[in-house]
């Protein structure tokens, strides 16, 4: 065994990063933790309240409803975007002049700022003047996302699918592009059908990129704020009030710092937990 030189000076090189991370992540997080265990009646007067805010939040029907909507929304968009993204990636050309064209077209929605996406769909889907809203109504379907919860949900989901499926497509396409031709040739020789090629070659080879795609889409959609806020403002009623919209209402609208802080932490822990679960499950499947 070679003896390693031990040099304490190395810590000085790490220090700037530690400070940076402390200031932009740890300190704000601890502030939130601080708020979440205290109660204030007036400026500068604080009382220790323990885990009361956490209990209140978990028991509140408002939080439970928002969490339910959030899980529903994330579940639906994952169920649509992942298979759709894979399907589109499979139909894209593998080589030739159309490859860059397809890639640029796919990347376009990703380049649009989130509030612009919300505004675009807001106008696009308006029942009286929007191209989509007007056309759908002209076809005899009663559609008004400003009044009907179902229509609002469909619009929010359609908007997210339009905005983010491309990300799944690009990741899946990268996974497909890394499969050597020999695999397809061997499968042909082995007499494998289209489904078998997908099931035994393409899907396993896309495993890693799909893990990333699912994680990214889960985290992003679970924290979604800007687009539905611009599109529906959380309504009609509370029908599209997702967790982050609810959180902002509570923290800034009602200035309930304690409950809002407790809710933030619960929200954060759920995101962390589910991400960890996804990651562990998907990578274990790969190894086992």
């Amino acid at each position: 065994m070679a003896t390693k030189t031990h040099n304490e000076r190395a810590w000085w090189f790490v220090l700037p990063v530690v400070l940076l991370v402390a200031f932009n992540a740890l300190v704000p997080l601890m502030t939130v933790v601080n708020y979440s265990v205290q109660e204030s009646f007036s400026q500068g007067v604080w009382f220790w309240s323990g885990v009361d805010w956490f209990e209140d939040t978990l028991n509140s029907s408002r939080f439970q409803a928002a969490l339910g909507r959030q899980l529903m929304f994330t579940g639906v968009i994952l169920a649509i975007e992942i298979p759709l993204g894979i399907a589109i990636a499979l139909t894209m050309p593998k080589s030739g002049p159309w490859v860059p064209v397809c890639l640029v077209l796919m990347a376009l929605p990703l380049l649009i700022p989130w509030n612009v996406v919300g505004a675009m769909w807001n106008i696009f889907a308006l029942p009286d003047i929007g191209l989509l809203g007007y056309t759908v109504n002209a076809l005899g379907i009663d559609y008004d996302y400003t009044q009907q919860p179902i229509s609002a949900w469909i619009t929010v989901i359609a908007m997210d699918v339009w905005h983010w499926t491309s990300l799944v497509v690009l990741l899946a396409y990268a996974g497909l592009a890394s499969i050597p031709d020999a695999y397809y040739q061997a499968a042909k020789i082995d007499g494998a059908g289209r489904w078998a090629v997908f099931r035994h070659i393409e899907l396993p080879k896309m495993n890693r990129v799909l893990t990333i795609a699912i994680l990214l889409r889960f985290m992003d959609s679970f924290m979604i704020y800007t687009e539905p806020f611009v599109l529906t403002g959380g309504g009609p009623g509370n029908s599209t009030t997702f967790l982050s919209i609810d959180l902002v209402k509570k923290a800034l609208g009602e200035f309930d710092l304690g409950p809002a802080a407790a809710m933030s932490l619960i929200y954060f822990l759920i995101t962390l937990l589910v991400s960890w679960l996804f990651y562990t499950l998907m990578t274990r499947q790969e190894e086992g």
């Binding site: 050597p180 020999a182 040739q185 061997a186 042909k188 020789i189 082995d190 059908g193």
Partner: protein, 356 residues
């Protein structure tokens, strides 16, 4: 098993080939006998992989026909040709066990469960994979993976030909030899027609009964390893096979005899009339340093342990000679003598009086 006939095969990757240079395969007319072990040998880019892919059906030739036992299969896709192919890099189905990998081609063809089991067990025993049947194939070392690739071809009993496209590229040197002998042993057991593509002469010569040497889209010689060594039909074959390769020395033809640097050289074949570029070919093993002969300058001597390789130069051409350990080697200049029975005249690269 089948006899494979290639009739007037030509292939170009360009949509409208005009000149002969546009063709990756220029004109191939060839018959592979049923149950033979063939090697397709040539440098990178000579068209051997193209030829292989045409036989397997992954590439459709621009012109010509492929026949399996006299039936035209040119238009058939790979899965209907009943061929098996082992690729340069092992192809395995990552998510499946070793057993399932081997069963996969049979399941795709709707073979019964009991028969699949019997076949898979028979082949894995042959390949010595039987102790890892239930393991996931993805975690295995490259040589085991390559055995699985072979196994997927061997389990099928309808296979006309098994083709190997440089299958040992990713295998460690000490395992290469083992796998090669395994392959040879398998050929004796199953008697399948096997075509082995390689640019490595050792692999080709040890595996095959018949070696097909290709260069620049043309088959330059077909023969046993001994034929290729002793009687190269083309200077390319002489050069490509052997280490060092055959010496090729420009010569004049005077009075029906080959003359190198003004010294007449006795040859095995009659040089005939001068036609094009005339050369004398002789392997280093049949060149000796003598008191009389063609004057040459000695450049360097390399000792390989078993013998010494003497590099000489005569009027701008390098000539190698393989000399036994005991013999003395003069300094500076020497005279070269060629064994008349192993010295041949080539015109424009081709053996004069050969079948070309």
């Amino acid at each position: 098993m089948a006899t494979i006939g290639l009739k007037n095969l030509r292939h170009s990757y360009m949509p409208k080939p005009l000149a002969p240079e546009d063709y990756a395969l220029k004109e191939i007319d060839l018959e592979w006998q049923d149950g033979g072990a063939y090697a397709l040998l040539g440098p990178s880019g000579c068209g051997k992989s193209t030829l292989l892919n045409i036989i397997s059906g992954l590439v459709t030739p621009s012109e010509g026909r492929i026949e399996f036992d006299g039936h035209d299969v040119t238009a058939l896709p790979p899965d209907q040709r009943n061929i098996a192919q082992v690729f340069q890099f092992p192809v395995i189905y990552d998510t499946m066990t070793v057993y399932d990998n081997l069963a996969f081609p049979l399941r795709n063809r709707g073979v019964g469960k009991a028969e699949i089991d019997a076949r898979v067990r028979e082949i894995t025993a042959m390949l010595e994979l039987d102790d890892m049947l239930t393991r996931r194939a993805s975690g295995l070392p490259p040589d085991a993976k390559q055995k699985i690739s072979m196994g997927r071809g061997l389990v099928r009993n309808d296979v006309n030909v098994i083709m190997f496209d440089e299958p040992l590229t990713v295998i460690d040197p000490h395992l290469k030899w083992k796998l090669r002998s395994k392959l040879k042993e398998l050929h004796h057991k199953v008697r399948a027609t096997m075509i082995y593509v390689t640019h490595d002469q050792t692999e080709a010569l040890t595996f095959a009964d018949q070696v097909v040497v290709m260069d620049d889209g043309v088959i330059v010689q077909i023969g046993t390893p001994v034929d290729l060594f002793e009687r190269p039909a083309h200077t390319f074959v002489g050069h490509f096979i052997g280490s060092p390769g055959m010496n090729v020395i420009p010569c004049q033809i005077e009075n029906g005899r080959a003359v190198v640097d003004g010294v007449p050289v006795a040859t095995e074949n009659a040089p005939g009339e001068k036609s094009g570029r005339m050369e004398v070919g002789v392997r280093p093993e049949f060149v000796t340093l003598a008191a009389e002969g063609i004057p040459a300058r000695i450049i360097r001597v390399a000792d390989t342990g078993r013998h010494r390789i003497v590099e000489t130069e005569l009027s701008g051409v390098k000539v190698h000679a393989v000399i036994g350990e005991g013999a003395s080697i003069p300094e500076g200049s020497a005279h070269l003598a060629f064994d008349p029975a192993r010295t041949r005249v080539y015109a424009d690269g081709w053996l004069v009086g050969g079948s070309h």
